[in-house]
Amino acid sequence: MDALTAAGPPESGPGPATIVRVAGPLVELTCSGGVAMHDLVRLGRAGLLGEVVAIGRDTATVQAYEYTGGLAPGHAALPRGRPLTALLGPHLLGGVFDGLLRPLSGAGDRLVPGLAPEPSRDDGLSFSPRMRAGDEAGEGAVLGEAGGPGPVPFRVLVPPGAGGTVTWIAPEGRCSTREPVARVGRTDVSLTTEWPVRTPRPVRERVPAREALHTGQRVIDLLFPVAKGGTVAVPGGFGTGKTVLLQQIAKWSDADVIVYVGCGERGNEMADLLTEFAGLEDPRTGGRLVDRTVTIANTSNMPMMARETSIHTGVTVAEYFRDMGLDVVVIADSTSRWAEALREFASRTGALPAEEGYPAELASAIAAFYERAGAVTTLGGTRGSVTVIGAVSPPGGDMTEPVTAHTERFVRCLWVLDRDLAYARHYPAVSWAGSFSRDADVLDAGRARPGDTAAPAPPPGRARVAALLAEADRLAGLVDLVGITALPARERISVLAGRLIREGLLQQSALSARDAFCTPEKTAALVDATLAVVDQCTRLVDAGVAVTAVEETDFTPLLRAREETGPGDAAGVADRRDAMLGRLRALR
């Protein structure tokens, strides 16, 4: 692959060009034609990578992915005659890469421009064919499976655009990423393949997303669920627990593969994530979590333009695994840094700025990114999905700024992180007032389909919980004005209900040994327990019990239930519900 091999002569296409202008990541070349938009270019003696972003009459403008210090007019440049492609293969799982998908594990302590580390060639994989010589194989068909260390079934597919009769296929046994494993028509198929990162990989058709992604975070699974194949934006100012929430989803959601794109974020955080994932067990497969994870780390001090690419690289990797019939989640933290890279480059090219200096194409760039998500029927005829979860970092917490405002329009779910909740140490600080899920109705309908036993029943009580929270919020404003004692008994129970839901149901500590993730069963049990207690309280005050007596009851059994029971311990929750109800009955 071009992005990874040292600068050799291109197979064909344009000849060498000369650099005439360098201003940071913006490089201009003279060229004699034969250069296409988004073609890859190697610059100067170090062979820095860049991409053609504009072509004039006799010059081409290149955006360099690396630090261009020392690059001068007169230096040579080598157009490669092909766009930036990603090398996709089994080496991705468990690996860490930069924004151009160059493996970081092989690079040194410091990232010097022009580095071209090769992905490690793996000879230790086992291959089992699923077809025989003579079989007909269309594009996307599964030729065989390659087993690596991890739990993810790695399927070898006929690449898009190829297909025909299988003339040769490797026998069961060990195989190497170096050698082809099959020949289909006139195409050699190996374990690895290449794909240009800015082009979505083809599918047979998009299908409606009907299955919920179970994230293990109660507030999300209960109130704002997302479908496998859906899109989510997570806006939140600094200190609202954005990264922690995204990491929780990366750890516990029931996807087959996670692509974690650290886009312009903290280096220490990345180091921490890598260390932590390596030590964690996947609760579903028993394997290591890291083996289902592809990490793309382009920290904030790494070159800005590779940050722009990292988003596309991440989605391309996700589409690749989707085509194997897997459910993939892409987590991009943070899309605001990506948008800033767009802005930075647009300003260097002298593009007319739109809102706050962002280029006018910001909205379409954001839309194009989120549109690569979806549930699909793959070329091979199986089902797969890519779910995109993008963090947004609004400057100054201003939700009207361009990146947040545009993103909101293109996503199906919005999980707004609220500074006041975070300040009150209410985590995850997902605001129930500001967030939405447009998938919720579809998911409930999908679950209710007759005969569909695979999908779990819709979580009961979502509407009730949402209504109680809204009522409690409305009353909270009133309480601040007139004091709680001025409210009628029923309203005071509503205020109490709001507190019980917040503290006993929605809060969930990422650091907790038992409650860091939560199964649908436990969520349902907690909802049931909380609502049963609220109903009991209402009945008590209706029956004439003094509301202060209810308010002063010690609700600890209910509030501690989430912490004291294991992730799937619905029975434990029910026990605590009964204990709580018993305590309340004693008030009569």
């Binding site: 360098v22 210090g69 200190g239 220490n268 180091a271």
Partner: protein, 461 residues
């Protein structure tokens, strides 16, 4: 050191703000270091901002004041700016460009390093896990600074942040392991610069500190160089010299203003509040130079200090800083008005890495529990105080009244500290316990029972 090209260009076509446009150059690269010689023989330095065919746009560190294109000669170094690095910096006092202010010879060393640094490979980073003790009780106990962390101090005009910064620079240590400090002052008034110099003199004399002082009247471009100089020196002291290095950078708001000024002179499209769109990346390229590296000794810890213009935490400089750094120490006018020094607002302050860098085997076994309980009690105290303002003290419950008492004690006994007082962690922890024990045992649910027994916590007093 820098080897200058033989060719000297006399073809300066234009001078505009801090920029000089040189015509007819060949082979001059972007970000290359340049030397400008005036007709008087005076020498100035700069960096190539843009190389366009035979034009090189140079930004001049010392400013273009007094320059005449006619008599100007420019030569180029052939590489981006490199500076000598080594132990020779320790004990020195220099200006923002690294030129001696202490009357000594220029700092020379056999090794040099590029001032822009090179990014650390994220997979080679070692997660921070041990504390730096600042000798400031409220910080060590409640927002522990961790080796390899970047933890900013958010302040406002008129608050004693410089005093706090110098106190930390003078006192911080890593308990027995080799430690040094690089103090970069940016946009300091002469009075402030003198203050910092006096306060840090003893540690500099002991060969443990490098002091770089860019004053408010020095050219703005120099200010853009100062933190890079400091970090480059620090990285070498840490990863080659095996020291734990604390880099104090104050005031980052002055730095960002310098960046804005240069950006405007270059005619760039402004973003929020006219700061350049790359402010985030630029700040990240400084702050992210902290850390630890697998297999290498030493660490770089960064403590940027910034004043929030108008006390506004949503201003781009504190806002973007908060997105990059791992927590923040916020100073408050209210605490300052009540005479508490250092006036840390503990409820808005946070060290995200504290959980990893404090506790058993790192600081003390009871540290994290005590810190969590103290913060929780202070949060409750604040609520109680607001309530008391509304309904009066008479309506408060006994537990509420104890919380008010705790808040008083917190300010007086725990948070307040002498400006030259080095408080040990044990002393600070003892004070934290004394403050906590104002509360009855039933209000200390976050502390384990055996600890409460050991400290004699009871219901009544």
């Amino acid at each position: 050191m820098t080897r200058w090209s033989e060719t000297e260009y006399t073809t300066v076509r234009e001078l505009r703000g801090p920029l000089a446009v040189v015509q007819g150059v060949g082979g001059v690269g972007w970000d290359e270091y340049a030397r400008l010689t005036l007709a008087s023989g005076e020498r100035r330095h700069g960096l190539v901002l843009e190389a366009d065919r035979d034009l090189a746009v140079v930004q001049v560190f010392e400013g273009t004041s007094g320059m005449d294109p006619g008599g100007l000669r420019v030569s180029f170094a052939g590489t981006p700016l490199r500076i000598p690095v080594g132990d020779g910096w320790l004990g020195r006092v220099c200006n923002g460009r690294g030129e001696p202010l202490d009357g000594g010879p220029p700092v020379l060393a056999p090794t040099s390093a590029p001032v822009n640094g090179t990014p650390v490979n994220p997979v080679r980073r070692r997660p921070p896990a041990e504390p730096v003790l600042t000798g400031v009780g409220v910080i060590d106990v409640l927002t522990t600074l961790v080796r390899g962390q970047k933890l900013p101090v958010f302040s406002a005009a008129g608050l004693p942040h410089l005093r706090l910064a110098t106190q930390i620079a003078a006192q911080a240590s890593t308990e027995g392991e080799a430690f040094s400090v690089v103090f970069a002052g940016m946009g300091l008034t002469h009075a402030d610069a003198d203050f910092a110099r006096d306060a840090l003199e003893p540690r500099a004399a002991a060969g443990e500190l490098v002091l770089l002082l860019n004053t408010a009247d020095a050219p703005v471009i120099e200010r853009i160089l100062t933190p890079r100089l400091a970090l480059t020196v620090a990285e070498h002291l840490a990863f080659t010299g095996g020291r734990h290095v604390l880099v104090v950078m104050t005031d980052m708001t002055s730095y960002a203003e310098a960046l804005r000024e240069v950006s405007a002179a270059r005619g760039e499209v402004p973003a929020r509040r006219a700061y350049p769109g790359y402010l985030y990346s630029d700040l990240a390229s400084l702050y992210e130079r902290c850390g630890r590296i697998h297999g290498l000794p030493g660490s770089v810890t960064v403590l940027p200090v910034l004043t929030m213009p108008g006390g506004d935490i949503t201003h781009p400089v504190p806002d973007l800083t908060g997105y990059i750094t791992e927590g923040q120490i916020v100073l408050s006018r209210e605490m300052h008005a009540r005479g508490v020094y250092p006036p840390v607002d503990v409820l808005s302050s946070l060290s995200r890495l504290m959980r990893k860098g404090a506790g058993e085997g790192r600081t003390r076994g009871d540290h994290l529990d005590v810190a969590a309980q103290l913060i929780a009690a202070m949060a409750r105290a604040r609520e109680v105080r607001e309530l008391a303002d509304l309904v009066g003290r008479a309506a408060l419950s006994p537990a509420d009244l104890r919380h008010l008492e705790l808040e008083e004690k917190f300010g007086g006994l725990f948070a307040s500290q002498g400006q030259e007082e080095l408080r040990t962690l044990d002393d600070a922890m003892d004070r934290a316990w004394e403050v906590l024990l104002t509360l009855p045992r039933s209000q200390l649910a976050m502390l384990p029972g055996d600890l409460l027994d050991a400290h004699g916590a009871g219901e009544a007093r």
